[in-house]
Structure formats: structure tokens, C-alpha cells
């Protein structure tokens, strides 16, 4: 929504307050009007609608509470923000109980005012139920196009639909490259929090101290290099969804801090004292066996149970091979557009290879393979030789026709195909894991 489409009415008996706020919002481009008393406010409300009404709770004549009730009779979705002096916070609390969106005390911190109004607008947008429904349908259909139609994925989408509208914490389990962030986005997009941000945090990619300040933010001077106050991801996710990727990699110390935030819904920035209240939903993802980490003492049991409320297991691509053609064609289409290249399909041979490969790196690896093939291939279609070596089976170790050479090459090929998954490779080779380890050692094979 453009700011000029949003109407704000300021009701305050003090002229200077009206003028200050009027100018402040005008500079942001809002449609702003003022009223000096309840009667004028009601007259203006009758003439035209407003999205947000800033209301001084203490005015001569009809008091703010009464005016708030009357405003709601006009428009029950109107967002009322109460302006109050410290002395009348009690009344403000009463106003909140009667449906006011929030209150601010005079004088207002410019930062608070900006955020308050932004949140109010989100809330207002949320009320537009029909728009909401339309988006919901659009986003789900988009998702289906991207992730596939196989029975295992249909099951996943069912789970997403079931849990999205609740506020439950969700844990997404899956190997790397299975599209865990995509599922997190789908949950967020179909939840009541969708007009607030989805804030992703990659817990695996950051050193402990960095992750801490990334999550909690810091005050200036909190540590060497903290030149300025920075808001953390927890604060940014307020109202929305916090997506903790690779949650199994969080250090013990940060696990404890995180648990406390989840339990109390409040925290302080690093080096700060101000208690900040937050409200967000957690969606987390891991490719680790967290239950095992709990047993080993590397992951707090209490945090595990907080996070593991509703689980969505994402199957690896090799367990839903039926989706490979759909996904592969989707990526061909995507890169054809991006590269303006006239490749529209995949040859039968190439498709057979794609379907037969194990994809240890899952959807991401498939996408990379198609992207590469689009670069090296030529119209009209992707051919077997355009695919990466480990897929088209040309990964042979040069030199030697002895049985040992062939054995070494074959083991290497299978290891590459499974992404060096020893258990899986041993299964395919029909040997036990110890034998496989010995052969790796013997042939001097390396990842």
C-alpha cells in the first residue's frame, strides 16, 4: 500500500500537538487530517474513512474512551492509537482492553512512532480479508509448482496447510538442499503473520558471538566493533516469523538465551538494559538428528521440546523420484528465461539419467545441474552429455583396465553419486560398511 492511500486522523485539543503530528505524517506522504475535539472528529469520520486514528485520551468534552467507542461504531476495523501523558496510563490500559491498537506516551520517541504506525498499517491490511484469501491461494499454487506432486510432497503440503494458520512452532527436518526455507516461507505466507516479516537466520553459518548479536542486537559499545546500536533479528521478526535454519548448530550459551526469549517473550540487547518485548512465531529447520544431539548432551532437552512441537519431515529427492521431471522442467524454464536461451526441454536419455541419479544435494543439486547444462548445452534440448559427469556416469578414473582399476572407479562413482554417504553407497554396492571403508582406504579415495 502506498502511504498516500492511507488516511490518518489526529484528534487532540492541543494545537501544537496537532500541528507537529500533522507535519510529521505529511512528510511521510500520508493523507492526514486533524480534529480538535470529539465532535469535530466524528464529523470528519462521517465524511470520509480513516485507517488510523491517533487519539489523545484526555480531552475536554467527550473523553477519549467514549470517542473510541463511537469510532468503532463507524468502522470496527479502524485502528485507534491512544496518545497519553504518563499520568493517565491507566486510562490507556482501559482503552487497550476496549480494542485500541496501542498507546504512546507524550513526548513520543520518533522511532516508536514510526514503528507503531507501520505495525498499525500491517494490522489494517490484515483486516482486508478478501485480499488475504486471494494471496493465500496464489502462494500455495506457486509452492506446488516448485516442490512437486508426488505423494510424499502432497503429504508435506497437507502438513503446511494444517499448521500454517495455527501459531505453533514448526520444526522442518530434511537433508540439505531439500528446500526447507521454501517450506518455512510457505508456512509464513499462509499464516496470520504474513503481513509482518519473515526473518531468516542461518545459525550454522555464524560464529557464536556473531549469531548472538545477530539475534539479540546490541547497544553501541557492547563489544569491540559495536560502533552503533543495532536491532537484532528477534526484534525485526516482531509480529512475524523467525526462521532458524540449521538450529542444531546453536551453541549451548545461545540455546539458553533463546529458550529464555521463547519462554518470556522478552529480552535485552547485548550491552543494554532496556527490556524489549517481542511476539514472533518460530519455524526452525535442521538436517541433524536433534534427538541424538540431545542424548549426547549437545542440545538442550528443554529447548528441543519447545521447538519440536509440530514436525514436517521433508523427503530427500531420491525418495520422490516422481517429482524429478517436474522440477527439472521447472528449472529449464526458469533458466531459459534468465539466460534468454532457446532450450525448452530435456532429451529422453538425459531425463532417464536425472531420474536415476541419487541427488545427495537434493533439489539444490538438481537445480545446479540444470543450470550448468543450460550453459553448456545448445537448443533445442538438454542432452545427456550436457549433464555433470557424476550424473551421466562419465566419471571414470583414467589409467588402467585391471579389475582393481575398474573396482576403484566404480566405487568412486557410487560415492560421488551418493554424496559420500557411506551407508547408502554400501547398500548400492551390496557390501557392508566396514568393507567399503577398507576399500576406500586401499584405493586412497578422497571426497
Amino acid at each position: 500500500m502506498e502511504t498516500r492511500d492511507i488516511g490518518i486522523l489526529i484528534v487532540d485539543d492541543e494545537r501544537v500537538v496537532r500541528a507537529s503530528l500533522y507535519n510529521w505524517f505529511k512528510e511521510d506522504g500520508y493523507r492526514v487530517e486533524t480534529a480538535e475535539n470529539a465532535a469535530e472528529a466524528l464529523k470528519k469520520l462521517q465524511a470520509t474513512g480513516y485507517d488510523i486514528i491517533l487519539l489523545d485520551i484526555k480531552m475536554p468534552g467527550m473523553d477519549g474512551l467514549e470517542l473510541q467507542r463511537r469510532i468503532r461504531e463507524f468502522d470496527k476495523n479502524a485502528i485507534v492509537i491512544i496518545i497519553t501523558a504518563y499520568a493517565s496510563v491507566d486510562t490507556a490500559v482501559q482503552a487497550l482492553k476496549e480494542g485500541a491498537f496501542d498507546y504512546v506516551t507524550k513526548p513520543i520517541d520518533p522511532d516508536d512512532l514510526t514503528h507503531l504506525v507501520r505495525n498499525a498499517i500491517h494490522q489494517r491490511t490484515l483486516a482486508a480479508e478478501n485480499v488475504q484469501l486471494k494471496r493465500k491461494i496464489e502462494e500455495l499454487s506457486q509452492l506446488e509448482e516448485i516442490v512437486g506432486e508426488s505423494p510424499p510432497m502432497k503429504k508435506v503440503l497437507e502438513l503446511v496447510k494444517t499448521v500454517a494458520a495455527t501459531d505453533a512452532t514448526v520444526m522442518i527436518l530434511g537433508e540439505s538442499g531439500t528446500g526447507k526455507e521454501l517450506i518455512a516461507r510457505a508456512i509464513h505466507a499462509n499464516s496470520n503473520r504474513r503481513y509482518f516479516p519473515l526473518v531468516p537466520v542461518n545459525c550454522g553459518a555464524m560464529a557464536e558471538g556473531l549469531l548472538e548479536s545477530d539475534l539479540f542486537g546490541h547497544e553501541k559499545g557492547a563489544f569491540t566493533g559495536a560502533q552503533y546500536r543495532r536491532k537484532g533479528k528477534l526484534e525485526m521478526a516482531n509480529g512475524g516469523t523467525l526462521f532458524l535454519d540449521e538450529v542444531g548448530n546453536i551453541s549451548m550459551k545461545t540455546q539458553m538465551d533463546l529458550l529464555r526469549v521463547i519462554e518470556t517473550k522478552q529480552f535485552t540487547r547485548l550491552g543494554g538494559e532496556q527490556v524489549i518485548k517481542v511476539d514472533f512465531r518460530i519455524v526452525c529447520a535442521t538436517n541433524k538428528n536433534l534427538e541424538q544431539s540431545v542424548k549426547e548432551g549437545a542440545f538442550r532437552e528443554d529447548l528441543y521440546y519447545r521447538l519440536n512441537v509440530f514436525t514436517i519431515p521433508l523427503p530427500p529427492l531420491r525418495e520422490r523420484r516422481a517429482d524429478i521431471p517436474l522440477l527439472a522442467n521447472h528449472f529449464v524454464h526458469k533458466y531459459a528465461l534468465q539466460m534468454s536461451k532457446d532450450i525448452k526441454s530435456i532429451s529422453t536419455d538425459a531425463m532417464e539419467l536425472l531420474k536415476g541419479f541419487d541427488w545427495p544435494g537434493n533439489v539444490r543439486e538438481l537445480e545446479n545441474a540444470i543450470e550448468r547444462a543450460m550453459v553448456v548445452g545448445s537448443p533445442p534440448c538438454i542432452k545427456a552429455e550436457d549433464l555433470p559427469r557424476q550424473v551421466n556416469g562419465q566419471s571414470q578414473i583414467p589409467g588402467g583396465d585391471t579389475l582393481a582399476d575398474v573396482e576403484k572407479a566404480h566405487i568412486k562413482k557410487i560415492l560421488e553419486r551418493t554424496g559420500w554417504n557411506i551407508t547408502r553407497s554400501a547398500e548400492i554396492l551390496k557390501i557392508d560398511r566396514v568393507t567399503l571403508y577398507n576399500k576406500i582406504e586401499k584405493f586412497g579415495l578422497r571426497t
Binding site: W24, Q227, Y228
Partner: protein
């Protein structure tokens, strides 16, 4: 060519004024004229130990020379508008007067070592921003544009001294 009149309020270091004047001339493609100093006592509010920027705008307006397009007050004093705890500056939207303060732009206020270069850059950006309002511009979504709103001093460092193409066209294309 339009002229922007600059008025130091209370005390402002001469070098800071010169740098600001040069920056405004360069970015707004205009001339600047330096007017005599203005005292700020009338805008002082003892209860807050701050200066009312709206009152300052009212005192600046009659000082505007007839040939100049806008008048900009520059100060080191801490400014406020009645409803807010502080402001970096204030302008009359599509009007003639604006005021900026360096008080909250200084690193020292946030416990950091003084950085005169950064301070000059921030002041120039906020001056251009407030002048932009006098030319009728509202806040811009482009994070690089000087008309992007800044809540914290460090936010100012993220944006450029200049107007984005869209804002420039809207405010100045017809003027120049």
C-alpha cells in the same frame, strides 16, 4: 538560478558552514547566501532543555531575503517538536523555511570518538533532506536517496547526499 539563504543559529563553526554551503550548491545546483547569526533564546524550553524547532522556523521566515527561494537555519542546539522527544531538523513542506541541527548527529552523543568528517556528511544530508521537503518532496522509499527517512544517526550514513532520479525530477526539473 535560485538562492538559498543560510542562517547560523546561536553558534556554528565557520568551517562547518562553508562545507555545508558548498555541498548544497553542488547538489541543489543553486547559489547560497550567508545571513547574520540568529539567537535562539525565544525557542528555548527550560523544562526540556531543548529548542523548539517550529518556533525557530517562525523566526527564520521573516529573515528570508526577497531574492532567495528558501531559508535554512543551521544549529548545534538540540531541537524538538512538542509531541516528539527530539528531531534532527524540521521543514515546512512546500514552504520556504527549514532548520537542521548537528546536535544528535555527533558521534560523541553515542559514546563514540568524534568524527568531524562523518558529522559534516550527516549534516549535509539532513540539510538537503529538509530542503527537499521545502521543495515539496515527501519521504522516498529508495534507501540511497537523501529523502529516505532516518530514525537513527547511523541510518543517515547509509544514504547518499543526493536525491534519487525520481525525487530530483519531481522537485527540481521544473525549477532549473
Amino acid at each position: 538560478m535560485s538562492v538559498i539563504a543560510l542562517v547560523p543559529i546561536h553558534t556554528v563553526p565557520a568551517t562547518q558552514l562553508e562545507h555545508l554551503a558548498r555541498g548544497i550548491r553542488e547538489i541543489l545546483h543553486c547559489e547560497t547566501a550567508l545571513l547574520p547569526r540568529l539567537e535562539a533564546a525565544a525557542a528555548y524550553e527550560a523544562a526540556r532543555n531543548q529548542y523548539n524547532s517550529t518556533t525557530l522556523l517562525a523566526h527564520l521566515l521573516p529573515l528570508r531575503p526577497p531574492h532567495s527561494a528558501k531559508i535554512l537555519g543551521i544549529t548545534e542546539l538540540d531541537l524538538f517538536i512538542p509531541i516528539l522527544t527530539y528531531v534532527f531538523g524540521e521543514a515546512q513542506l512546500s514552504g520556504a523555511a527549514a532548520v537542521v541541527s548537528s546536535f544528535r548527529l555527533r558521534n560523541e552523543l553515542y559514546g563514540l570518538p568524534a568524527d568531524p568528517t562523518r558529522l559534516r556528511q550527516r549534516l549535509l544530508k539532513e540539510a538537503n533532506h529538509e530542503l527537499g521537503h521545502t521543495f515539496g518532496l515527501i519521504h522516498c522509499r529508495n534507501v540511497n536517496c537523501v529523502m529516505h527517512p532516518s530514525t537513527y544517526a547511523e541510518d543517515i550514513d547509509l544514504k547518499a547526499e543526493r536525491f534519487c532520479e525520481e525525487c530530483w525530477k519531481e522537485a527540481f526539473e521544473s525549477v532549473h
